[in-house]
């Protein structure tokens, strides 16, 4: 059983928090005391229904304003899977939070209010999901109860959305349309009786069916060295282990490897996880490997399979999502963190700004404001070992750190 991370996106009042609350309620994931707290607060505010958003909007300011400001993480599990939902705010000014939530997710849910249909925000939610190459996307058409569970309304929205899909860059994305009513519980966990015309799976049923091939993009193995383990004890006198997480594909004992940037060749001698040896390290496992030869490897180096090496370069172009209130401009200097590697970077040029609603690009842009998305070329003080984001989600992404504030001010996806 894997952990499935899901990002949600929707506009204000699309009922995103209600949907999550409904999932928790119908899977009996809300404990009595949490349910009582929701009942109590709903009553205090004079609502005549349970406000499930109270289960997820954790900050005082969020509850006061009735909106989601920051990504919240919600956990529940079924017999088949464990789920983590990154509940992200949907406003324009929270594009960065949506990007953040989507970056760690393998599936996503885009909510559409059946009464409003595809709106400008829907374009942006879809754009971000596509930009981040989320493999499985559910378009949940919510509030079906308010349009008399009409198949016509559903079909119209589906047709409008399909038009949007033709513009997407990442064509292999799986997209599933589901008509739901989060408030009434139709097609969320249980199949709706009011919409017998819908033959597909309910939302949770769909998520339960996803297997690894549906949610992970295939790639090649990359092993960024995180930490060098040198025990310096009598028992492990000559031990030099390279600790890290395997990304993209598996690594096995006996594999011919190359260490970057030195391009030294060696073979994998042993793979350890704690005190046990393994033949193969699966992707996403945090192992320690030892090599046949005694070579110098340090943090930030990358171990890759021979014949399968990434791009080694001091310059690249990437789609950047800017997350800071100070502008990004050409000539600006930042730290780029690519995996566990940190390098100094200079903005060589801003190629063009991308309107995240499929309305085109702006070639005249000179600076990036918070929540802007743009194609940017960087020059680095030393080479990094990268793949294109479309081929490798982990090794093709990076974050931008402000050298003054140390804050994470942007994220990038290498083209």
């Amino acid at each position: 059983m894997e952990v499935l991370k899901i990002a949600t996106a929707g506009s204000v009042d699309d009922g995103k928090s209600t949907l999550i609350g409904r999932i928790l309620y119908d899977t009996k994931s809300l404990t009595t005391d949490k349910l009582e707290a929701i009942e109590k607060t709903s009553k205090q505010r004079g609502y005549d229904y349970l406000d499930f958003s109270l289960a997820t909007d954790g900050l005082v300011a969020e509850r006061e304003q009735g909106i989601t400001i920051d990504v919240a993480h919600i956990y529940f599990s079924t017999k088949k899977k464990s789920y983590i939902i990154a509940d992200t705010p949907g406003h324009v000014e929270y594009t960065r939070n949506m990007v953040t939530g989507a970056s760690t997710s393998q599936a996503s849910i885009i909510l559409i209010d059946a009464r409003k249909g595809v709106i400008e925000q829907t374009n942006r939610h879809f754009f971000i999901n596509n930009l981040l190459r989320i493999k499985d996307v559910v378009v949940a058409i919510n509030k079906m109860d308010l349009v008399d569970y009409s198949e016509e309304v559903y079909n119209k929205i589906k047709a409008d959305f399909s038009e949007l899909m033709s513009k997407r860059d990442y064509q292999d994305q799986n997209i599933t349309f589901i008509p739901v009513s989060a408030l009434k519980g139709d097609n969320v966990v249980n199949k709706s009786e009011a919409m017998s015309w819908y033959k597909g799976a309910a939302l949770l049923e769909h998520l339960e069916q996803l297997d690894k091939a549906d949610i992970f993009n295939a790639g090649t193995p990359r092993f960024p060295v995180q930490y060098v383990v040198r025990p310096k004890t009598e028992e492990f006198h000559d031990y030099r282990g390279y600790a890290g997480k395997v990304y993209g594909g598996d690594l096995s004992v006996g594999d011919d490897i190359i260490v970057l940037p030195s391009k030294t060749r060696s073979k994998i001698k042993d793979i350890y996880f704690y005190d046990e040896k393994y033949e193969t390290a699966s992707r996403r496992s945090s192992v320690t490997i030892t090599l046949e030869n005694d070579i110098n490897v340090s943090r930030g180096d990358m171990i890759v399979k021979e014949g399968d090496i990434p791009v080694i370069d001091k310059q690249f172009t990437a789609n950047v999502c800017w997350m800071d209130s100070n502008q990004l401009t050409a000539g600006g200097k930042y730290v780029i963190q690519h995996g566990v590697n940190k390098v100094l970077a200079k903005v060589d040029r801003i190629n063009h700004k991308i309107n995240p609603d499929y309305s085109g690009i702006d070639k005249e842009a000179t600076g990036l404001n918070i929540n802007d998305i743009a194609s940017v070329t960087f020059k680095l003080n030393k080479p990094i070992f990268y793949d294109q984001f479309k081929n490798h989600r982990t090794n093709g992404s990076f974050i931008i750190i402000d050298t003054q504030s140390n804050n994470t001010v942007g994220a990038g996806f290498i083209q």
């Binding site: 059983m1 894997e2 952990v3 404990t31 009595t32 005391d33 949490k34 954790g58 900050l59 005082v60 300011a61 400001i69 920051d70 919240a72 993480h73 919600i74 956990y75 599990s77 464990s82 960065r96 939070n97 990007v99 953040t100 970056s103 760690t104 995180q226 930490y227 383990v229 040198r230 025990p231 310096k232 028992e235 282990g241 600790a243 890290g244 997480k245 598996d250 996880f273 704690y274 005190d275 393994y278 033949e279 193969t280 390290a281 699966s282 996403r284 496992s285 945090s286 192992v287 997350m323 963190q337 995996g339 566990v340 982990t394 992404s397 974050i399 140390n406 804050n407 994470t408 994220a411």
Partner: protein
Amino acid sequence: MKKDTSHINSLENEAIYIMREVAAQFEKPVLLFSGGKDSITLVRLAVKAFYPAKVPFPLMHIDTGHNFPETIEFRDRLVKELGLELIVRNVQDSIDEGKVKEESGRYASRNMLQTTTLLDAIEEFKFDACIGGARRDEEKARAKERIFSVRDDFGQWDEKNQRPELFDMLNGDIELGQNVRVFPISNWTELDVWSYIEKENIEIPSIYFAHKRKVFLRDGMIWSAEDDVVYRDEDEEVIEEMVRFRTVGDMSCTAAVLSEAVSISKVVEEIRDSTISERGARIDDKRSEAAMEKRKQQGYF
């Protein structure tokens, strides 16, 4: 044999990755150890992350002086067996120095007072990273917490201005005086922790298992009557029940639950079927809806 990545293993892989990032990115990290199941789990993860080398940071216990005696015995045995370094700082000392004032009355607790002792210790040792066992599923303000959570010179959490965390990349860059709180088991649930304890066969303090205890009832909760630090009115009747504790914080604010679970597997079963959340037995969270968010802003874990 292949190293697999099923549910609990993938959480373990993530936590080990975070432990290694802490050791690599910071100069003086420390693991905050309370003797509770979450921090015991952290110790296990740290041992596994750096094996066969030793854990490259010490443990620190902020002792409220209101700990269950079983917890302290357990703590001392654990550090000895694993050869770890342990630092202890006492809330009592902060009280004696007049830095904090003891609360009084029936809901008095030293839980809030811990913050001062913790912040003083961070300054004393110049710790730049504190690893803690907080989990996002515990409480709704914690659900908003980052894995690397930056605190300013005053130890404060600026919840509206948190660093975005993308993919696996953890940004631990800070200025002198700031520190980072690190939460390797952020994505674990209470059941995950217990399942891990069961799978790894990790030893935990006896109070987590069902035992006979003299208790009294208040506000629908069960309080220990065996320890002086728990305030009890004279008319609150003492009875004996089979109970266990789901968390082992300050005794004065940690209530017990009725239980027959005498083994780890029984506890796992019980939690799987439970309808009350873990922190439902923590009176410190019930003070107001925003109790946790307020404490965190002030530097609490």
